[in-house]
């Protein structure tokens, strides 16, 4: 019989090792999945994990890694603050969209003005948009004790409708010959987030790094970060300690919304280029996996974001080269979260195998 026994202390070693083990098991299980689909498992795994960095066309894919990693990291850092406190913002995708629309709206309003002030204003507007969208579930939770998971998630679909309306209406490119979508920011130097397009570097990556450092200091050195962790560990103890739950909810949802909004703004003014109906591609949801894969730890999230970006890019190559269905890639990413959460148990419990019959 196999029994689980609670460890007196969480294992430090395993909490670092489990993400690595989860990745390895995902590779094995994913390999079996690809084999069942009639593809060579080794080739598929190599295509996903190896080719984007070291393959023949790596020069093209490596910059993509940063482009895809930046929004994931930025959003996941924000989410991790709330997740640590037990506040579940599932609607980062919506905050990402609204942040993008607000930032783009400011940029488009100034078009074609050439000024170094335009982009900072867009950044502020992007952060504000995401923050404001996250304040809806936050205020509802504080005032009426609604469930932030449901409200934030449902607001994603509202945001998608707003996005469709914007790209077909208010923000539509007046010179776009009737096609949906706004003007392209890649044609507007003052409102453009690229630092070095060839290297895949835009301001989103810079902000992601800043966010990682900021979150690290906050969680490890600042009393507010301590209060966030304390609330997640034991909410009654937090209340006893003097943590104001209302303020904490507003802070956590607000900051994760603002970071998601920033991610949206950097995406819309760079890699994506314009407000369009299909602007959002699920970064807000994938960031949830990234946050957990990174153990809700800032450095972990940085690495996890890059790894997740890798599976995105590798997955696309595998779709193109090997003809794997896109659903198989999504299953593969889902497996990663699944194995990670399952293995999580081992940091707090140890497995004991008792010989059957001895009772």
């Amino acid at each position: 019989m196999i029994t689980l026994e609670k460890r007196p202390m969480p294992s430090r070693l395993l909490s670092i090792a489990t993400p690595v083990i989860a990745v390895v098991i995902t590779m094995i299980a994913g390999g079996l999945l690809f084999y069942a689909l009639g593809k060579s498992p080794f080739e598929a795994i190599r295509t996903i994990f190896w080719d984007p960095i070291f393959g023949e066309f790596a020069f093209y894919y490596r910059p993509q890694l940063l482009v895809k990693g930046a929004p994931l990291i930025l959003i996941a850092i924000g989410l991790s603050l709330g997740f640590k406190a037990g506040i579940w913002n599932i609607g980062a995708e919506g905050q990402y969209i609204i942040g993008g629309i607000c930032g783009a709206g400011i940029g488009l309003a100034f078009y074609p003005l050439n000024s170094f002030l335009v982009f900072p204003l867009m950044i502020l507007a992007g952060a504000f948009g995401g923050w404001a969208w996250a304040m809806i579930p936050a205020l509802l939770k504080v005032k009426f004790n609604t469930n932030e998971i449901l409200v934030s998630l449902m607001l994603v679909y509202v945001a998608e409708q707003v996005l469709a309306s914007m790209s077909l209406g208010l923000l539509k490119n007046p010179e776009g010959h009737g096609f949906p979508g706004s003007r392209n920011f890649n044609d507007y130097p003052s409102g453009n987030s690229w630092i070095n397009e060839a290297a895949g570097l835009h301001w989103g990556m810079a902000f992601a790094f800043i966010a990682v450092i900021f979150a690290y200091v906050l969680l490890n050195r600042h009393i507010l970060g301590f209060n966030i962790r304390l609330t997640g560990e034991a909410s009654r103890a937090a209340r006893f300690s003097g943590v104001n739950p209302t303020r904490l909810i507003l802070f956590c949802l607000g900051s994760s919304g603002a970071l998601a909004g920033l991610a949206g703004l950097f995406e819309i003014s760079g890699p994506s280029g314009q407000v369009s109906i299909d602007f959002n591609v699920g970064y807000g949801f994938t960031a949830i996996i990234v946050a957990f894969l990174g153990r809700l730890h800032p450095i972990g999230i940085l690495l996890a974001g890059l790894l997740m970006a890798l599976t995105y890019i590798g997955g696309e190559i595998a779709q193109g080269n090997l003809g794997l269905p896109s659903a198989a890639i999504q299953v593969f990413q889902g497996m990663l979260l699944f194995f990670l959460l399952a293995l999580d148990l081992l940091t707090n419990y140890r497995v004991k195998v008792a010989v059957k019959g001895v009772t």
Binding site: E5, P8, M9, P10, R221, H222, I223, L224, F226, R229, L230, E233, A234, R236, A237, A238, R239, F240, S241, G242, N244, T359
Partner: protein, 509 residues
């Protein structure tokens, strides 16, 4: 005594790092009340769990009426005739008494028949209880009656009771003892676990004493003094706390007309509470658990917001202040629930030291935590209060209950409180450590702090407090001087026997 019901020989059970039971042997006779005596952590609970089939022994054997007995699960033990009343009740607040009883039965009869049976049993054994009441509305004593009646309906041969009187008023204890004596006269054996020596002397025929998992002696309680038994339990001579100072000074904390709705539906409403504590005074608040103790502590610590002017500190209104603002003034508190309320289970002792120490120990500057200073504060608590742990990096949940209790109380005491409110300061702590904690509280009072001790241990309150009051259904009795207070008077202050009238009304209806 006619014969031997249950014979235990050489039972051993080890957990990682601790041997809970080491070669324990004793016999329980038929129609005998057998006491199992020992400090917290002596292995009493593990032993009864083995008898009840919850835990399997590593070695050793049991015999039930001469036949080998090795229950693989509680169901097997129940079939043989073992019933157990746990220290922590397993009842659903939202269900009725009869529904709760039915949930614990293998083949529950129809509700109406069951209600009838419950009434019969409750009348036969003098345990007043109305089967149609909701458990959430019952007092702790009445809840215990639900558990006992649930056991009695199985017609047990051996009834195990784990610390049954810790939640009862003295009058309720008398009712329980009458029931137990009646059961004994009918031929049921009772295994009675307790560390309250006077009770055991009054009730039990035989006692087995455990210390550190070993059987260290047996005695006939009626012929042994409480002190002798205590020294067997502790394995050492007991030290009684000494008080240095009897003088009291100015009024430190005044509570007047404090009424408060509970934050959860089964909490207790505080009703019009008045009291004053002076510098150098220890006020003991007794009462059965669940009569407003947690709510009162939360109101005094600032965890819940309190109505204006209800709480004054040296004449200043502090009712609207949050916990940290109260800490700044010197009003500190230590809640009863160690894991999850007083301390965060998965966080280190250093982090737990920060939990309440941030303000008074100056552990932050501009919001940034001074971790080295926090760690030395944690170390100071560990050394001063003799907390047995490898160091401040250890998670709170890794500490034993008693050690964590020392840490939690020590953390507040070392912050030089002006007013300290502690709930159950020595709950689950061994006798030596309990004496040390009480001494620390007395010393603190001698230095001029005002202390409120909320406890269910009446002996403790009589030993250390200057004044005594009792909480009963959210009301506080009149505060009286401890000197010269009789146990009967205390019992009446605690509300006498809960639910007697209610049950009679129910029976007539």
């Amino acid at each position: 005594m006619t014969g031997i019901l249950l014979s235990i020989s050489g039972l051993t059970k080890a957990y990682p790092g601790v041997v809970a039971n080491d070669d324990v042997s004793f016999d329980i006779g038929e129609s005998e009340v057998h006491a199992l005596l020992g400090e917290n952590g002596a292995g009493k609970s593990t032993l009864v769990k083995m008898i009840y089939g919850l835990v399997k022994p590593d070695s050793g054997s049991m015999k039930w009426k001469g036949q080998p007995f090795a229950p693989a699960e509680p169901k097997a033990a129940r079939t043989a005739g073992v019933a157990m009343v746990f220290q922590h009740f397993s009842l659903f607040d939202a269900l009725k008494v009869s529904e709760n009883v039915a949930l614990g039965m293998e083949n529950p009869p129809r509700m109406r028949d069951l209600a009838h049976k419950i009434r019969n049993v409750s009348e036969t054994y003098g345990l007043p209880l109305d089967p149609n009441r909701t458990v959430g509305d019952l007092s702790a004593g009445e809840r215990q009656r639900v558990e006992i009646i649930r056991c009695l309906l199985q017609d047990p041969k051996l009834l195990i009771m784990d610390e049954p009187t810790s939640v009862l008023t003295p009058q309720e204890v008398d009712i329980l003892f009458a029931t137990l004596n009646r059961l004994k006269a009918e031929g049921t054996s009772i295994l009675y676990i307790s560390h309250k020596l006077e009770e055991i002397r009054k009730l039990c025929d035989h006692a087995t004493i455990l210390r550190l998992g070993k059987n260290v002696g047996e005695c006939i309680p009626a012929e042994t003094s409480a002190r002798e038994m205590a020294e067997l339990m502790v394995g050492d001579a007991l030290q009684t706390p000494m008080r240095k100072n009897e003088k009291t000074g100015e009024a430190m904390l005044e509570v007047s007309g404090l009424s408060l709705q509970p934050s959860n539906p089964y909490g207790t409403t505080l009703k019009n509470i008045h009291f004053t504590v002076h510098a150098g005074e220890i006020l003991g608040l007794g009462g059965v658990a669940g009569n407003g103790q947690d709510e009162l502590l939360a109101a005094l610590s600032g965890e819940v917001s309190t109505p204006q002017y209800a709480i004054k500190f040296k004449g200043q209104d502090v009712a609207s202040l949050k916990p940290n603002a109260r800490r700044t003034l010197g009003i500190l508190a230590a809640p009863e629930e160690r894991l999850g309320h007083a301390a965060a289970p998965n966080m280190s002792l250093t982090e737990n030291a920060l939990l309440t120490g941030a303000i008074r120990e100056n552990l932050t500057s501009n919001g940034f935590v001074n971790w080295p200073a926090t760690m030395s504060f944690a170390k100071k608590i560990i050394t001063t209060f003799d907390v047995r742990t490898p160091g401040p990096h250890v998670a709170a949940r890794a500490l034993s209950g008693g050690n964590l209790q020392k840490f939690v109380v020590g953390r507040e005491v070392l912050q030089r409180p002006k007013v300290l409110i502690v709930n159950q300061p020595t709950w689950g702590v061994d006798a030596a450590a309990a004496a040390a904690i009480r001494q620390a509280l007395l010393d603190l009072a001698a230095e001029g702090a005002a202390i409120i001790v909320i406890s269910q241990d009446l002996d403790e309150l009589m030993e250390i407090s200057d004044h005594f009051g009792a909480l009963n259904e959210g009301r506080l009795s009149e505060i009286r001087s401890t000197a010269g207070l009789s146990i009967d008077e205390i019992g009446l202050m605690m509300g006498g026997a809960h639910g007697m009238e209610a049950a009679h009304v129910g029976a007539n209806a």
